[in-house]
């Protein structure tokens, strides 16, 4: 049997009728011990017998490519093959592409494109030979400067923003820029490919297996049925593993040619170039407000970039469409076609940079109005989606703002900038709102129930977010089993297709599929108990209905029951606007001499429906807020102005926030249920913590020292320029 649910309407809160008491608890990750002891097998850890090792080779420039010394390289010690195959891919596939990205090795669209694979008996031999392979690029570089080309696309207009700006007593018209970002997952992209006749198995580090399988099959020109992908553990993805990347395809081609398994691991410098980066953005934000601080006009226009033939454009203004009410609106992105490495989804695509810049502009407006920035936001919360007029599924922005303000100690803050000093350091506080659209994607799961316990199977991945833990909790809660009697098996395309991890929708999508599979089993158990499923209580391996109570083992005997759940998004994601909300607060210190900024503390208050696991949820928010520090202050890809290549492509020069940059982070969740979000009534949380976090920091910088930093990251040189200009 299968229980299918298309989410067209509200769902009742079934979790509250369940008895196990596992859901929502801060349960440990069942695989945590394996990970911290190094026993979890990641993609590159499994080296099969007779495995050969491949190293990708980059194009040193752009245009037509020739390789002049392949024969010499083939003669080097240990070298097995020099592969330049037209099936190799230009860049990683976009998330949910479900088909091959641009392929080919005869032409480089960007400097750094992977255009060959050298395979050898050892990793070191492959690397040395790859370095010696001579690739010559003959073309002049294509355009690499976003301001040098005419971009595609036009923003959507509603009303007349120009007129609203002209009429309003208070306006803001400011330009913000954010640098490109790299996902920089701790585990570099890796694949081990092995053929058995026509069947290909690839151990890889990927986020969305059901799409990845089709992408890889399409690249190779084979039937997806012949491809099996295994990604039981993934050492971080942040969007960079949504689609297959160069090492998967190259390893499969090499393994086919050599008739032996081949492992390809990307060097950190290759990860920076060949997988998708977050586009840099240039954002013009216009706000028009009446004397009471009510918005009459809202403009958010963004310029982003991508390679030709890439469908993705950083959706910078995604949340601006519904964040605040204003009758006159102009919102949207333009894309510059550039020959920089491909852009794609990086944690919270759109809102991460869009909400951050927009919330800085809101702070500027609050200053202009002489209003408390929280008050300004409260005055502009829309009662329905301002663009489409549809209602919100739930809306707790006001509650998070008030909760965060109370806990942070916002009341009594003197709004005047430059009024608190600690030695050389200016001290200030700032806040920002957080928004992130809530999505759900099709997902399936299967649960096998025996007297011993339950086994959950789906090709869903755990990219470090806690999927193993929450699926254990959902199945245990629904079936009345303690966590140790639930086994969760993930990351194998032989299992039913889950949602994959991405867009903050994994927990809600696959979690609901697991619930439906468990519901299927509950119905089967109820029929064995001869009662309605709704009257069945399952707890600690005991089934109870009215006056009858039986041990599950007794009820099942030697039987094996199988439950299957399938969920998909329907009208609940069209007829209502679904989003998560939050409020960020930060205290910073700005050095008056050097322009250095240090974050002293941060606090976030979030509402995202039911919190499935308080501990893993908190970790997600910690991570997001830490990314906010990086985005605001330290992180940014630097492109060479001549050929667009990424200059700072290692972790010494690409500055993610270090431990020393991260102060105590406080995270609070507000109790919320969103009936539109599915039977679990939980919404996506993985990306909410990053959205707007950087704005709270930069608004605090302004409060501290009086400088508005509109270019991110706000490195000391930029802060210093602002201080000098005061």
């Amino acid at each position: 049997m299968t229980i299918d649910l298309k989410l067209d309407d509200k769902s009742e809160d079934r979790a509250k009728t369940l008895a196990q008491g596992l859901l929502g608890t801060p349960a440990d990750r069942p695989e945590g011990h394996l990970k911290v002891t190094g026993a979890a097998i990641y993609a590159a850890d499994s080296v099969p017998e007779n495995c050969a090792f491949g190293m990708l080779v980059r194009a040193p420039g752009q245009g037509a490519l020739t390789c002049t010394n392949a024969e010499d390289i083939r003669a080097m010690p240990g070298v097995l093959a020099v592969i330049r195959d037209p099936r190799m891919i230009r860049n990683a596939a976009q998330g949910t592409a479900n088909e091959a990205p641009v392929q080919g090795v005869d032409h480089a669209a960007y400097t750094g494109q992977p255009v060959a694979l050298v395979v050898a008996e050892s990793f070191e031999q492959a690397r040395h030979a790859a370095h010696a392979l001579k690739i010559i690029a003959e073309g002049p570089p294509g355009p690499v400067d976003p301001d040098a080309v005419k971009p595609e696309g036009e923003p959507d207009a509603q009303g007349d923003l120009d007129a609203a700006m002209a009429d309003a007593p208070h306006t803001i018209d400011a330009e913000y820029t954010t640098a490109g970002h790299s996902s920089a997952p701790m585990e570099p992209h890796a694949a081990v490919a092995d053929w058995d006749g026509e069947n290909l198995t690839v151990r890889a580090s990927l986020q969305m297996l059901k799409y990845n399988r089709n992408e890889l099959a399409d690249c190779l020109g084979i039937d997806p049925e012949n491809v099996r992908l295994l990604s039981p553990y993934v050492g971080g993805g942040f969007g960079s593993k949504l689609g297959i990347s160069a090492e998967c395809v190259a390893a499969a081609i090499a393994a086919q040619e050599l008739q032996r398994p081949v492992r390809v691991v990307q060097h950190r410098r290759q990860v920076f170039e060949t997988v998708t980066r977050r586009s840099e953005t240039r954002q013009r934000i216009r706000l028009a407000a009446d004397a009471d601080g009510r918005l009459t006009g809202l403009g958010h226009e963004a310029l982003v970039s991508n390679l030709p033939d890439e469908s993705f454009a950083e959706p910078v203004t995604q949340a601006s469409a519904f964040a605040y009410a204003a009758a006159n609106r102009l919102i949207g992105e333009r894309v510059a076609r550039l020959h920089r490495p491909a852009a794609g989804s990086v944690r919270a695509p759109g809102e991460a940079v869009g909400v951050t810049a927009f919330e800085c502009a809101m702070d500027e407006l609050a200053t202009e109005l002489g209003l408390d920035p929280i008050d300004l936001r409260l005055r502009n919360i829309p009662d329905k989606d301002p663009q489409s007029g549809i209602p919100f599924s739930s809306h707790m922005l006001a509650e998070t703002l008030r909760d965060g303000a109370d806990r942070f100690g916002w009341q009594g803050r003197d709004p005047a900038p430059r009024n608190q000093r600690d030695g050389e350091w200016w001290i200030g506080t700032g806040m920002a709102a957080a928004f992130r659209v809530n999505l759900l994607s099709e997902a399936e799961a299967r649960i096998t129930l025996t007297a011993e316990g339950a086994r959950v199977e789906t090709d869903m991945t755990d990219i470090g977010t806690g999927t193993y833990a929450i699926l254990t909790q959902i199945a245990g809660e629904a079936l009345g089993l303690t966590a140790d009697r639930v086994t969760v098996k993930l990351g194998d395309t032989d299992y039913p297709p889950g949602s994959g991890s991405g867009g903050s929708m994994g927990a809600a999508s696959t979690g609901n599929a697991v619930w439906l599979a468990a519901l299927d089993l509950r119905q089967q158990l109820a029929s064995k108990m001869e009662c309605d499923e709704g009257d069945l209580t399952l707890k600690d391996g005991q089934a109870t209905c009215g006056n009858t109570s039986r041990a599950l083992s007794d009820l099942l005997g030697g039987d094996t029951l199988s439950g299957h759940g399938h969920i998909d998004a329907g009208k609940a994601f069209e007829d209502v606007r679904q989003s998560t909300f939050g409020a960020h607060f930060a205290e910073v210190a700005v050095n008056d001499i050097t322009g250095e900024v240090r974050v002293r503390r941060m606090l976030g208050s979030f509402a995202a429906g039911r919190i499935l696991n308080e501990k893993t949820a908190r970790s997600q928010c910690h991570g997001g807020m830490t990314w906010g520090i990086g985005m605001a202050l330290t992180e940014g890809l630097t492109h060479d102005r001549r050929d667009g290549h990424i200059v700072n492509r290692d972790l010494a020069e690409y500055h993610i926030a270090t431990n020393a940059d991260v102060p105590p982070l406080e995270v609070h969740f507000l109790e919320e249920r969103d009936p539109w979000a599915g039977p679990m009534q939980s919404k996506g949380l993985g990306e909410l913590g990053i959205c707007g976090a950087g704005a709270a920091i930069l608004n605090a910088v302004h409060h501290a020292c009086g400088v508005r930093l509109r270019d991110m990251p706000a490195t000391p040189d930029r802060v210093l320029a602002g201080l000098s200009a005061l």
Partner: protein, 324 residues
């Protein structure tokens, strides 16, 4: 990575002899060399491990300290004598790299670490330091962290060390053993070469020369300050750093030795800056004058323009702290 031979030297003589061989390189902590070898920016045929030569001791000598070449950055920073009498060195060390790197990195290796110029690390772009005569991709490229003093038209790469900046302000001496078995010493002032038209030659060391120790003379100033401005709170190279060693007598500066990082192809010191300060009464005007002298010949390249105003603010702040 190119295949290489690994040789563990038993004593300094054997190390120097082996180091004289073609394609040989000494390795201690390897925190920089291994990265460069993986990228084949450096591709030695033979690595000579110098970590078992007994050069890992810190000993008192003539009122100063003799620091073995393989004393780790962590051990040196934590030495109680260093912390008490040469605190600028301890602070400079702790401002550099990360805890993990400092546990491996050594005193001699730190002095010889290569530039972090991104084009030096990118073998697909030209670099005169890597391949003499090839050209310089940094010129006209991304120059946010390049040198503005002491550069040439062939190379604008920075020396990235923090430790060496403090050593220069402390008038440290570097003891070197040659393959012939002779020992000689360089003052920090004479150890490094400016790029000129030979940016691949960075120090006075000849093939097979092994740094055996660094001698720290008795401190000439009790007021010691190290300030480093960087892009993040840890694990970032200096945008600008200043090491100040000052002694005050009767309200005047009796001794001033100021080292600078983040500005030049070597740990920088300007005798005119020191001379201007020495004998003078501390004042904002004096400090500004010192900054003017320091920066009078500075040449920036766009991305590093900010280093002039940054150094101009940082130096007076450090001098204020060290003299007040």
């Amino acid at each position: 990575m190119k295949h290489f031979d690994y040789l563990r030297a038993e004593d300094t003589t054997a190390a120097c002899e082996a180091g004289f061989g073609r394609g040989a390189a000494f390795i201690a902590g390897g925190t920089n060399l291994l990265d460069l070898m993986k990228l084949e920016v450096m591709a030695p045929d033979t690595l000579i491990d110098v970590t078992r030569l007994g050069l890992d001791k810190i000993e008192e000598e003539d009122g100063g300290l003799r620091i073995g070449a393989t004393v780790t950055n962590s051990d040196l920073a934590a030495d109680m004598r260093v912390r008490r009498d040469w605190p600028v060195l301890s602070r400079a060390l702790l401002a550099g790299a990360s805890g993990q790197l400092r546990n491996k990195a050594t005193t001699g290796g730190n002095l010889l670490q290569r530039t972090r110029c991104p084009y030096f690390y990118d073998t697909d772009t030209p670099c005169n330091k890597r391949t003499p005569g090839e050209g310089c991709a940094a010129l006209g490229g991304e120059t946010r962290n390049h040198a503005i003093l002491g550069t040439s038209e062939h190379c604008i790469a920075l020396h990235p060390s923090d430790m060496a900046v403090a050593l220069r302000a402390l008038d440290a001496q570097i003891e070197v053993q040659s393959p012939e078995g002779k020992r000689r010493a360089y003052y920090m002032d004479n150890f490094y070469c400016l790029p000129g038209d030979t940016p691949h030659i960075e120090t006075m060391l000849e093939p097979g020369d092994l740094i055996t120790s660094v001698f720290l003379p008795a401190p000439k100033g009790d007021r010691q300050v190290y300030r480093k401005v960087r892009d993040r709170a840890s694990y970032a190279f200096a945008l600008v750093s200043v090491a100040a060693v000052i002694r005050m007598e009767e309200g005047k500066i009796a001794h001033a030795a100021i080292g600078f990082g983040g500005l030049a192809p070597q740990p920088w010191r300007d005798i005119e800056v020191d001379a201007t300060l020495t004998g003078a009464k501390p004042s904002a005007a004096l400090f500004d004058k010192a900054a003017d002298i320091l920066l009078q010949g500075a040449e920036t390249h766009g991305g590093d323009d900010f280093k002039i105003p940054l150094a101009r603010r940082l130096l007076p702040a450090v001098l204020e702290e060290a003299t007040s």
